[in-house]
Amino acid sequence: MESTILQLSYLIGSVTFIIGLKMLSHPDSARKGNMVAAVGMTIAILATIFLYEHNGEKLHNFGWIFAGLAVGTIVGTLAAKRVQMTAMPEMVSLFNGMGGACAMLISMVEYNHMQHAGEAAATTGTMLVIVLGMVIGTVSFAGSIIAWGKLNGSIKDRTIPAGQILNFLMMGGVVVLSVMLMTGMASGAAVFYGIAALAALYGVLFVMPIGGADMPVVISLLNSFTGCAAAFGGFLYDNPVMLTGGILVGSAGTILTILMCKAMNRSLKNVLIGSFGAKATGGGGAGGKEQGNYKEISMNDTATLMAYAQKVMIIPGYGLAVAQAQHTCHELEKVLNEKGVEVSYGIHPVAGRMPGHMNVLLAEADVPYEKLLEMEDANDQMGGTNVVLILGANDVVNPAAKEDPSSPIYGMPILEVEKADHVIVNKRSMKPGYAGIENELFFRPKSSMLFGDAKKVLQSLVGELKQM
């Protein structure tokens, strides 16, 4: 009877994951979908704790289990509630890493367990599942931590000499050692932990050279890795809900990764092999045209230009996010509206650090949904726009993506700001953007630069406008 209830709970869990994921892909039902999946997860967890049995034996160590659940819940909730909206991408990456580490630890305990029980207990299939779960979990854990460090700026982009070859060697080492472990040619904890160490190193080196705008793609990919690691756990315990949940995320994550690549018009292979930073220096040298001079514009002139415009389009980028300027930005929009200026926002699908990042941010500041234009609509309206204000966006407006075939971002669709009458670019300095490539837009005749932190600049703009 109890095992029937357990299986039923797992079935409910699997179904809620499917429904939840489906609902998450529509704006109206997304939040409910998240809830549905969370409820299903809770049911599956509780059923496991109280009803799971193996060879007629129930689980014990309830004290430890509930203590672990409590610690995880408290820390997880606090971290998730406290995190700034701008730091969301790295938070997701960190949580993903935790899942990977969890899969890794499970495999390690099971391996120890198996060693105690004697090698005879280990069938090749079980060993395969344990090793695969461990390898993928470890790669995902190590990679996510690096991605997290990169996004919050504590780890810099670095190209490792002969990194590709090193990566191949390490992956080869993992495969060879795993096969030896499974066929019994090699055995012992040293081999097992050797594989773990190699996998961890691989995870680090795999993410390390990938830089620039590609980080979201990597996180999405690691996300689907963790899904697969969870699914191997499902094989290990013959557990259907782990299997469906894991594989669902594994396949959905892969599709999502490909969709993101498409939004940036880059292939996955390109992202993984061609490291952005390394190529950019080469491209810069080849396309090293004379850059000419850029012109600066004063706060006062900017305010005047905007106040007497009919249509203003704001193009937000990561600069807006770092400066936490979304609220001030909304204020500027309101002041301009009072003066009869029509304001809209042009949102590039990959502006910021993650697709949809800007939408979330501006939504936080209560910017009405209708004012956010997707790239195609924004480009259609660009012609009738008098002033375009670019707030800390760079690569998504770089004309090189259209004009310079040697540029690493060539082919990526961009916001065609030059169709507007005036382009005002707010940046902190002339340094190139996240992808590390020069932007010729800044030197074009229509452009003028407004240097400074996005929030401070917007505050003084609002001040100037109010006095007019």
Binding site: L24, T48, V75, L94, C102
Partner: protein
Amino acid sequence: MDTIISLFNDPASYRLLTIVILSVFLGIEVISRVPSVLHTPLMSGANAIHGVVIIGAIIVMGQAPSDDYVALVLGFLAVILGTLNVVGGFVVTDRMLEMFSKKKKK
């Protein structure tokens, strides 16, 4: 080689493989045609769902003999990390989506 063949003779692995293959197609079907606005929350939601690995951690923890400290400590860590993944994932996703629903009401 024999062990590998025996894998294919086990009816249980076919049941699991069926689930895997169906889930793969389901995952693809469910995700296709998503507006780019929802990419981030969707990734975050999927992130929370693979936290289902916590169930494995609970089983490991619950089966650990009470004198096997290595298993107890590793299992305990696994439960904490898995819970972080699940709870953190769902809460972060909810926070992102909360902002979308707020403006929908207007």
